[in-house]
């Protein structure tokens, strides 16, 4: 948790979000998606999704996912002590979903989120938008829309802080092996 340095400040992050909103707009027009449903992954993905949702002026309320019950490391690290309910207020059946997260790293969080969404129903499609697309993928998952591709060492850890103001910080990688540590949210 120590030795964190600022990677990008609020104005930089906000302009990346503007760029992402534009790319999402183009993408859904190209795909002729009229009315997408946006879902953010807790915690950073929700902060990001709230802004994108507003910029795009989406009609349906924002959904939120807490993937704690779908993590693949439960048998190793046990229950996340800070679980929140997932909230998908609109049925996902036959809907085009834009799934939003802050950092795409190993791909394991997105795998968990996809599994959870399918327990709510059968969407027509899922598009993935992440603020940061960093190296270190362990699963065949790629973003459709992204804000930034930083070049990072494997032991470097990039985190979105927020909700107000947003910022990206860089620190040594933390493994959530004990309850005092930050949850490893880049999975």
């Amino acid at each position: 948790m120590s030795d964190n340095t600022t990677f990008m400040q609020a104005d930089g992050v906000e302009s990346l979000i503007d760029v992402m909103a534009g790319k999402i707009w183009t993408l859904i027009n190209d795909k002729e998606i009229a009315d997408p449903l946006m879902v953010g992954i807790r915690t950073g993905g929700v902060w990001l999704a709230e802004r994108l949702h507003q910029e795009l002026g989406l009609r349906d309320p924002l959904g939120t996912l807490d993937i704690s019950f779908y993590r693949d490391d439960f048998t190793r690290i046990g229950m996340n002590p800070e679980v929140h309910p997932s909230d998908l207020p609109i049925p996902v059946d036959d809907r085009h979903i834009i799934l939003v997260d802050d950092v795409l790293h190993t791909g394991r969080t997105i795998r968990a989120a996809l599994n959870e969404i399918f327990d709510y129903g059968r969407p027509a499609s899922i598009t993935l938008a992440t603020l940061v697309d960093r190296s270190g993928r362990e699963l065949p998952i790629q973003p459709d829309v992204t804000g930034l591709h930083p070049s990072l060492d494997p032991d470097q850890h990039i985190t979105l802080i927020g909700p107000e103001p947003l910022g990206l910080i860089l620190g040594a990688k933390t493994n959530r092996t004990s309850r005092g540590d930050e949850q490893d949210r880049d999975a």
Binding site: D66, S68, F69, Y70, F74, T75, R76, I77, G78, M79, P81, E82, V83, H84, P85, S86, D87, N115, E116, F118, D119, Y120, G121, S178, R179
Partner: protein
């Protein structure tokens, strides 16, 4: 007692290894259970009412005493966590405790059961099993004798928090057969740990334990006095099967003195809620109009029981998983 309860139930990082009694658990762990349960409440409303958290785990419901509601909600909770469930109804009269209990335990461990959910007529049965279970095997107490029923207490706390938001400032009355009630003991401990302003017990002298006041409660014999201005009324079931001799004059007389009627309910706060662990003896502990009335949250307690048990099962299995890995390393 409380130190050993703490040591048996929590690991070095204050995570649940077993869930046997509220005694020895502090406010932060009780709050963590309630918060985790909050996360599970939505699962029951989804298309697929399951999460994959405990996939591949085997949970054994070891019931030496009859139960419908508790066993069923434990079974449903384990299944919603994707665990496999074994239901074993073992007649207590056929076993001679101690050795037989251990034999049962060893046999089930040989089948690689990961968790025992235990109900037994003898106080301390779940503790006994927890002390003898292999590392990696968690134990949950689903009611032992007159001692404790901690998951019932936690689902009651969850129900109260969902309706009242905070515990601080609340006045709670527990009414009825305190003497025979393991539920009441666990509730009193939980309410005081979570910091309610006042816990009242309302009962005739014959249905109060002799040490009632040492539990940290205000004792009332007059129901009308005891219910006045309370936020929460918890009615207890009259445990006729546990009573011997003339503890009660008659059910009719009990109802007239300690039955919850609409008239009495009007003495509580206007937004008071009415709870009961079930099954209700209608016309004995409460009038049907109250049981089915707008202030009754009795059926919500049953639904919340699933979320609370999902939380406790997954927290215990999560900690025990880690324990086996540490042993393996």
């Amino acid at each position: 007692m409380s130190l050993s309860n703490k040591a048996l139930q929590l690991d070095d990082e204050q995570r649940l290894l077993h869930f046997l009694t509220i005694d020895g658990l502090d406010r932060s762990i009780l709050t963590e259970i309630l918060d985790t349960a909050e996360g599970f409440t939505g699962v029951s409303e989804r298309t697929i009412k399951k999460v994959p958290l405990c996939r591949g785990k085997v949970v054994a419901n070891l019931f030496f005493e009859n139960s419908t509601r508790t066993r069923t909600t434990f079974e449903l909770a384990a299944k919603r966590l994707s665990a496999d469930v074994l239901n074993l109804n073992i007649s207590a009269s056929a076993t001679s405790k101690g050795e037989t209990l251990l034999d049962t335990l060893r046999n089930l461990e040989a089948m690689h059961v990961d968790m025992f959910i235990v109900r037994h007529a003898t106080s301390g049965a779940a503790h006994f099993i927890a002390q003898h279970a292999d590392p990696g095997v968690g134990v949950i107490n689903a009611g032992d004798g007159r001692h404790a029923h901690p998951t019932q207490a936690m689902l009651d706390m969850f129900t109260i928090r969902r309706h009242k938001g905070e515990f601080v400032g609340l006045r709670v009355a527990i009414v009825g057969d305190i003497l025979h009630s393991r539920v009441a003991r666990s509730q009193i401990l939980a309410l005081n740990t979570l910091g309610v302003s006042e816990v009242r017990v309302v009962a005739p002298q014959t249905l109060l334990p002799s040490d009632a006041r040492s539990l940290g409660v205000h004792v009332y014999h007059d129901f009308d006095e005891g219910i006045r201005d309370v936020d929460v009324i918890i009615m207890l079931r009259l445990q006729k099967e546990r009573m011997r001799g003339a503890m009660l004059p008659s059910e009719h007389e009990y109802f007239s003195l300690y039955g919850l009627t609409e008239r009495r309910l009007a003495l509580a706060k206007p937004d008071a809620i009415v709870m009961h662990p079930g099954p209700i003896n209608r016309g004995v502990e409460m009038d049907s109009k109250v049981a089915d009335g707008s202030k009754s949250v009795i059926l919500q307690q049953v639904s919340y029981g699933i979320a609370i048990r999902m939380a406790i099962i997954s927290m215990v299995i999560g900690t025990q998983n880690q324990r086996t890995q540490e042993v393996a390393v």
